[in-house]
Every structure is written in structure tokens, then in C-alpha cells.
């Protein structure tokens, strides 16, 4: 067997191992959204309290659009107080926080809202139209929509206070 053949046989193992090692660096569950930097898809929601909200009406205001579900434990339960706190802090500066409850039962969702005393508008997403339009693949996911209606940032998984604050400040 020629030496180059021997060597190339042995060396061909290296790229395979490198590729597998690269796998440790990536998270298969994290999929970057193609929507970031683009115009946010329009939505029109009927809230649990009967009011209506649509992206059209909110044009010119920074929007924090949060997708959640009552069965999403613990991530949604952990981020809920931070969302309410951010709403309290920034509502006077024109920031809107909207919660979209997906794949849920209304009664469970209302219990969740009561539990965390949400005062920002929350509404269900019948037939999942809005969540599919936003490319949601799990809960919680949060979109930060700037004044011009483009998506500034998308967060996957539970939000903490720091990220929430930083991203809202960036949009102001």
C-alpha cells in the first residue's frame, strides 16, 4: 500500500472528529429567526378582556411581543414577573408589552394571568395563526419590535430582567 494512501486514510478521520466536536458548540434546539431585521408580520388579536390590538394601531411604538402558555413550566413562570415589571417601568415611555397565549385552554390561561397579576394586554392565538406567522417553535419566545415596525431582536427561552431591560432600552 502506498504511503500516501495510508496517510490519507488516517487523516480522513480528523475532519469527521472535528465535525462531531463542532456539534458540542452548537445547540440543535436554537434556530435563528429569519425575521430579525425585517418588517414584523402584522397581527390582530382579540384580548382576553375583549379589547383588540393590532400591529397597525401600535405603529410608532416599541412593542414587546411575548408568546407564552400556561403549560410551559418552568420557563414561562420564571419570566412572567419580569415581563409585568418591565411593563410597569416602561409603559409611560410608550413601550407596549403584549402577551400571546398559544396552544392553551382559556381557563388555564386566565389562571396564569391572575397568578402573575398581568396588567398588560394578553390574548389567545386561535388556530395558531400569529405564532406561525412569527415562526414560533416553542414557548416562551419574545419579539422586540421597533418603532418602525421592524423586528429588532428575538429571544428564545425565558427572559431575565437584564436582557429585557437592555433590549427595550435599545429600542427607545
Amino acid at each position: 500500500m502506498a504511503t500516501w494512501k495510508k496517510l490519507s486514510l488516517l487523516l480522513s478521520i480528523i475532519p469527521l472528529l472535528l465535525l462531531l466536536a463542532y456539534g458540542f458548540k452548537t445547540n440543535p434546539r436554537e434556530v435563528p429567526s429569519p425575521l430579525v431585521g425585517r418588517q414584523a408580520p402584522p397581527f390582530a388579536l382579540t384580548m382576553f378582556d375583549g379589547s383588540h390590538n393590532s400591529l397597525e394601531q401600535l405603529r410608532g411604538k416599541p412593542v414587546v411581543l411575548n408568546f407564552w402558555a400556561s403549560w410551559c413550566f418552568p420557563a414561562c413562570y420564571e419570566e412572567a414577573p419580569h415581563l409585568e415589571a418591565a411593563w410597569q417601568t416602561y409603559r409611560d415611555r410608550g413601550v407596549i408589552v403584549i402577551g400571546v397565549d398559544i396552544q392553551d385552554r382559556d381557563a388555564d390561561a386566565k389562571a396564569f394571568i391572575d397568578r402573575f397579576k398581568f396588567s398588560f394586554p394578553n390574548g389567545p392565538d386561535p388556530q395558531g395563526k400569529t405564532s406561525i406567522d412569527y415562526g414560533v417553535y416553542g414557548v416562551p419566545e419574545t419579539f422586540f419590535i421597533g418603532r418602525d415596525g421592524t423586528i429588532h431582536y428575538k429571544h428564545v427561552g425565558g427572559l431575565d430582567e437584564k436582557v429585557l431591560k437592555a433590549k427595550i432600552e435599545e429600542m427607545l
Binding site: M1, I13, L19, L20, W71
Partner: protein, 666 residues
């Protein structure tokens, strides 16, 4: 108590493994048989200690010793005993323990059975097996210890993952697969022993062929039963999702199948020596790769255990195995020259070579598809998915060519097949299968692939039957035996050949089942009120009502359906949803009515809480049962091939060889 004893036995086993490696190397160097025997004693003690550890773990599980973290996470007071026992392989640490025990068992058997016959190779085999054991014992001793304790001790455990306590097949699928994985360690160890010792004749090949068949048989059981489990538990109506971990179990099966075929060339023609060692290395590395994929979480999969830090260790182990083995292989490559030569492009040898090409091509496309998301992300930075549409498009043509080869290969003459002999052997079956395909077409089968799949499977069935009939007829003429006696004696005289042919028959059934059940699948999802029904194929499915009750460890909601076939009531079916307190999403339980003709598959998708409606997904999958029947025929065939001969193996070989040498006799 259990924790201390358990940890002690694992540590002790690890120490013994390291000791065994050292003494056997010393024994080989200094030519001291006593040291070699001591190393073989080490293998026996490791098996003893790991059996003890498994028993301790079972005692912990069944005795609800929640001070053990593993028990607290994978057992609970409400879990039925059966599922508590099999929780041993419900999570990472326990499955590594099972792995160690199986490897210990196989190693002990290998030492007991082969050490007399293989005096020269055995010391090296012992070293290799002990090294593998040491790696897994290291995992169980440090990063994935099954005997870690927690405090405070919880009053109750979380119980096994509901998907794993929903079906009795969980008792068979993982151990079968593991035994298949672990089994390949034995042929690998013999291959390495041959390389290290430089005894690269046909001895090691002859020794490992039965071990390889055992490993292959277990892997087949694991895969088939896994498919069945997926079909009956996951509730999507399919059995194979091209999930990374499923693919990982298919890879060593494919390369192992290739190995089982090419060792025949080496035995008879003293060729492909290099290739056979390479194949056994690749197969073993792929079994470790399969475990690696399950444990590392680098690809998303139904089977992925949570990320646990053993991933990099596995990767390191794969790297070491590949580098050491291939270095040895190229170092010995001069001794691995073919001694024989080929005579013709049309011969059994060529058929085997093409069979290897296609099997390896199949394996390569599966591996590439499985790792392509990683590759795409590394090269383009874009995440892509590679799933069923990709694998079906790429692999179906490769698979069909393989079936074609499977039908003709065993009947082509060794060395050189003349046109005349080919005509004599294949003219009949070819005509019959073309007619059969025509009949399929007449009955509404359309499309190139389905027709080819049916035609080629039929071709295989006919050639296999022809082979049995001709063999039995020849025997009958020579010996005057009855037909059945002739058939059974024929099979038992050439177990390997006829076992192999039976495996081919099983594959043909499997392919017919796969094709019919996917091409002619009927599917409907409808919301029904009580009394309403849906019509699917021949069946009318009537929704009667919902019932619900509380079981110790779960809450069950069940839909009651009555099935009519042209106004005759044929069955009552009860798909359900089970709500486990630890899970947010309910686990569906499907109900399947299987006949040889078709399966009716019902899933309760959702229901109104007040019982006024239920959404049901109904599927009709024709010839679905043939898949499982084919699987069992494959396992039966491998059992026949594995079964030890009463007569001396050598004599059987030669007869088998002569039988195989005569294509187209009548």
C-alpha cells in the same frame, strides 16, 4: 448501603480491568501463560462484579431506595413493578451499567468458548475487550455514576419518562439494541487481535462469523422492535422517522451486513483481507457512535438523554479507536494482500463486492444525511433539517438495487458464471416476477418505485423458494427421503447458506410491507360527535363515547369506537390519552387492529372536556403486519445460521461450499 456497595463494585471492576490489561500485556511479552490466565480471570470477575452492580441497582429500584439519585429520577411508588425493573435502561447511567454487564457477559462467553481453540489470538482479544470494559467502567465510576446519592431523601421519585412506561416492548428494544451494539465488540476484538499478533489468516474470520451473526441478530431485533414500539407508542402512525438515533442504529447494521457477506469471500478465496478488518473496525466504531449520539445531545432526537458531559469522552474514545485501529491496519497492510484472484466480472465474488458497495453507499448517505445539519451550520452558518423526504429520495433507489442483488447474488456461481447457467437459474423467476408485477399493475399499483419494490421482492421470494425446492429435490433423488425430511436436512446441513436465504426471504417480506403500507396508506382526521362515524377504506369508524378514570400513577381518558366493515361489526377500539402528573403534555395511546391484510390505526387527537366530541386520526396501512413478520423471519434465519452444528464445523463448510457452487441445478 446499596450506593456504597454499588460504587465499590464498579470501582473494583475498573481496577481489575486495568490490572487485566497490564498483566495480559506482560504475559504476552514474557510468554507467561499464567498471566494470560489471570487476565481471563479478570474478565470473569468483571462480569461477576457488574452482575452484582446490576442486581444492586434493581434492588434499589424495586425497593424504592430514593436516596439513590437514579432511583429518585426514574422510579416512583406508583410505577408498576415491571416498568420499575426496566427503568434500569430508562436513563443514561443505568443504560451504561447495562452496557457494561452485557459486554461482561459477551466477553465471558467469548473467553469460555474460544480460549481453547484460539490460543494464539486469545491474549490479544482479552486485552482489547478489557480496554473497552475499562472505558465504560470509567464512565460508570466517574462522570455517569449510577450510584450517586442525594440528600435529603425525597419521599417519592419522579418515575420513568411516560413514553418508556407505556409499552412492554421497552423491555426488549433497548437491551436488544445494546446487545447488538456490544456484540460487535467481540468480532472487533478478534480483528484487532489478528492485526496485533500478525496472524492474519482466515482463523479470526472463521471464529468471528458466528459472533458477528449473533451481534447482527440482536441488532436486527433491536431495530425491528424499536420500529414496532415507535408505531404503537408515539402515535404518528409510522415506525421509522429517520431520527438521528434510529439512523445511528441502522449504520452498524448496514456495515455489519456488508461484513457478514465479504467474510465469505475471504474464507473461500483468501481475498478482501484488508477490507474485512476495515469493515469490522468501522462497524464497531459506529456502534460507539450510536451511543455517542444518544448521550451527547449534539443532534436533536426523540431518544436524546439530557446532556451529561459524557459526550466529549465518547468522542475521544471514538477518536482513539479509529486512530489506533486504522494505524494498525495500515501498518499490517502488506500482510493483508489477496492470495487469490478473480476470474470474471460476472461471479458471486463480484456480486458480493457490489453488495458491499451499495450497503456502504447506503450507510454513507445515512451518515451524511444525519450529520449534514452540523456540516451545513459549520460551512454556511445556516441550520437545515434532513428528514424523511431526503432519506427516502436518496435511499430508495439504493435500497431497490440492493434487493435486486439480494435476489440474484446467492444464485450466481462462484468464480465465473456462464450465460447459460444464468439463463437456466433466472429465466423462470424473472418471467414469474414480471408476471407478478403485471398483476400488481393490473390491481392499481402505479409508479416506478412501488412496482419495482414489489417486482424485486417477488423475484427474491421466487429465487429463494427455487433454491430450497431444487436442493430438496436433488437430495430426495439422491437419498430417497420424503420431501419435508429432505428440506429440513438440507437446511440443517447448510445452516449458514439456508439461514442466510431465509433472512433474504424476511427482507423481501419486509420490503413488501414497507412499500404497501406507505404507498397505499389512507389517512383521515375528523372531529366526531357521539354516534357519528367516519369512513376510511372498507372501515366505518363510529365514535360511541368517552370514558375517563384515575389510575395510581396517571389519569386516563379513553375514546370508545366501534368499527364496522360493510355494516358488520368487526371490533371495538379504544385509543386513549394518558395524563401523567410529571408531564405537561398527555401521552397518547393508540389502538391498532392488525390483520395480515391491513392495519387500522386509531389515535385520539383531542376531545371536548364534556365528552360531546372527539377528534380522531384514523389510518389504514395495508400489509403493515408483513413488516413484523418479515422481521421475525429475518431473526429466524439468523438463528438457523447461528445454531451450532452437531458435526464438525469444517465438514459442514465444505458441503455447504459444494452446494453453493452449483447454480441452476435442477
Amino acid at each position: 448501603m446499596i450506593a456504597t456497595l454499588g460504587r465499590f463494585s464498579i470501582w473494583f471492576a475498573l481496577a481489575i480491568a486495568v490490572y487485566g490489561v497490564c498483566v495480559s500485556i506482560l504475559g504476552i511479552r514474557r510468554h507467561r501463560p499464567a498471566l494470560i490466565e489471570s487476565a481471563q480471570g479478570a474478565i470473569v470477575s468483571i462480569f461477576g462484579l457488574s452482575s452484582f452492580a446490576v442486581l444492586l441497582m434493581e434492588a434499589g429500584l424495586v425497593g424504592h431506595d430514593f436516596s439513590l439519585e437514579y432511583v429518585a429520577r426514574n422510579a416512583s411508588l406508583d410505577t408498576p413493578v415491571f416498568y420499575t425493573i426496566i427503568a434500569l435502561w430508562g436513563a443514561l447511567e443505568g443504560s451504561i451499567l447495562l452496557w457494561i454487564w452485557l459486554l461482561g457477559l459477551m466477553s465471558v462467553l467469548a473467553v469460555m468458548i474460544e480460549s481453547k481453540r484460539q490460543r494464539e489470538l486469545m491474549p490479544y482479544v482479552t486485552v482489547v475487550l478489557l480496554c473497552i470494559s475499562a472505558f465504560f467502567l470509567f464512565l460508570a465510576a466517574f462522570p455517569a455514576s449510577p450510584f450517586t446519592t442525594i440528600s435529603p431523601v425525597p419521599p417519592d421519585g419522579r418515575g420513568p419518562n411516560p413514553l418508556l412506561q407505556n409499552h412492554p416492548l421497552m423491555a426488549v428494544h433497548p437491551p436488544g439494541l445494546y446487545a447488538g451494539y456490544v456484540g460487535w465488540a467481540i468480532p472487533y476484538a478478534f480483528g484487532m487481535a489478528a492485526l496485533i499478533s500478525g496472524r492474519l489468516g482466515e482463523t479470526w474470520i472463521r471464529t468471528v462469523r458466528r459472533w458477528s451473526l449473533v451481534a447482527w441478530g440482536f441488532l436486527t431485533i433491536g431495530i425491528i422492535v424499536g420500529g414496532r414500539w415507535s408505531y404503537e407508542v408515539l402515535g404518528w402512525g409510522g415506525y421509522w422517522a429517520w431520527d438521528p438515533v434510529e439512523n445511528a442504529s441502522l449504520l452498524p447494521w448496514l456495515t455489519g451486513t456488508a461484513f457478514l457477506h465479504t467474510i465469505m469471500i475471504q474464507e473461500r478465496r483468501k481475498m478482501l483481507k484488508f477490507w474485512n478488518v476495515a469493515l469490522v473496525i468501522i462497524t464497531f466504531a459506529l456502534t460507539i457512535f450510536g451511543t455517542f449520539l444518544t448521550r451527547s445531545g449534539i443532534l436533536s432526537s426523540v431518544h436524546a438523554f439530557s446532556d451529561s458531559g459524557v459526550g466529549p469522552l465518547f468522542l475521544g474514545f471514538i477518536g482513539v479507536v479509529l486512530f489506533l485501529s486504522f494505524s494498525l491496519l495500515v501498518y499490517r497492510s502488506d500482510k493483508l494482500q489477496a492470495e487469490g484472484d478473480l476470474d470474471s466480472l460476472v461471479s458471486r465474488e463480484s456480486a458480493f463486492l457490489v453488495n458491499n458497495l451499495l450497503l456502504l453507499g447506503f450507510a454513507f448517505s445515512v451518515l451524511l444525511g444525519t450529520l449534514f445539519p452540523l456540516l451545513s451550520e459549520a460551512v454556511r452558518g445556516v441550520k437545515v433539517s434532513v428528514g424523511e423526504p431526503f432519506f427516502n429520495t436518496v435511499n430508495v433507489p439504493i435500497g431497490l438495487s440492493l434487493i435486486f442483488l439480494m435476489a440474484i447474488g446467492p444464485l450466481i456461481a462462484w468464480q465465473h458464471a456462464s450465460i447459460e447457467s444464468l439463463r437456466r437459474t433466472f429465466a423462470g423467476p424473472l418471467c414469474l416476477s414480471i408476471m407478478g408485477t403485471g398483476i400488481c399493475w393490473f390491481f392499481g399499483v402505479r409508479g416506478l418505485y412501488p412496482l419495482l419494490a414489489f417486482g424485486l421482492s417477488l423475484f427474491t421470494v421466487i429465487t429463494v423458494c427455487q433454491e430450497f425446492v431444487n436442493g430438496a429435490r436433488t437430495r430426495r433423488r439422491k437419498t430417497g427421503e420424503g420431501y419435508l425430511t429432505a428440506l429440513s436436512k438440507l437446511t440443517s446441513r447448510g445452516r449458514r447458506r439456508y439461514g442466510g436465504l431465509i433472512v433474504h426471504l424476511g427482507v423481501a417480506f419486509l420490503v413488501i410491507g414497507i412499500t404497501a403500507s406507505s404507498v397505499f396508506k389512507l389517512e383521515q382526521e375528523v372531529t366526531l360527535k357521539p354516534g357519528e362515524s367516519l369512513q376510511l377504506g372498507r372501515y366505518q369508524v363510529r365514535f360511541d363515547d368517552l370514558s375517563a378514570w384515575q389510575e395510581p400513577h396517571r389519569f386516563v381518558v379513553q375514546g370508545n369506537f366501534t368499527i364496522f366493515n360493510s355494516n358488520h361489526k368487526v371490533a371495538e377500539m379504544r385509543p386513549a390519552k394518558r395524563f401523567y402528573p410529571t408531564e405537561q403534555q398527555p401521552i397518547g395511546t393508540v389502538d391498532v387492529r392488525s390483520t395480515m391484510r391491513e392495519d387500522l390505526y386509531l389515535v385520539l387527537s383531542s376531545f371536548a372536556k364534556d365528552g360531546t366530541s372527539a377528534t380522531v386520526k384514523a389510518l389504514v396501512r395495508p400489509l403493515m403486519m408483513w413488516i413484523w413478520v418479515g422481521g421475525w423471519i429475518m431473526i429466524l434465519g439468523s438463528l438457523i445460521a447461528i445454531w451450532p452444528d452437531r458435526r464438525r464445523a469444517l465438514a459442514a463448510d465444505s458441503v455447504e461450499e459444494y452446494v453453493a457452487w452449483q447454480p441452476g441445478r435442477s
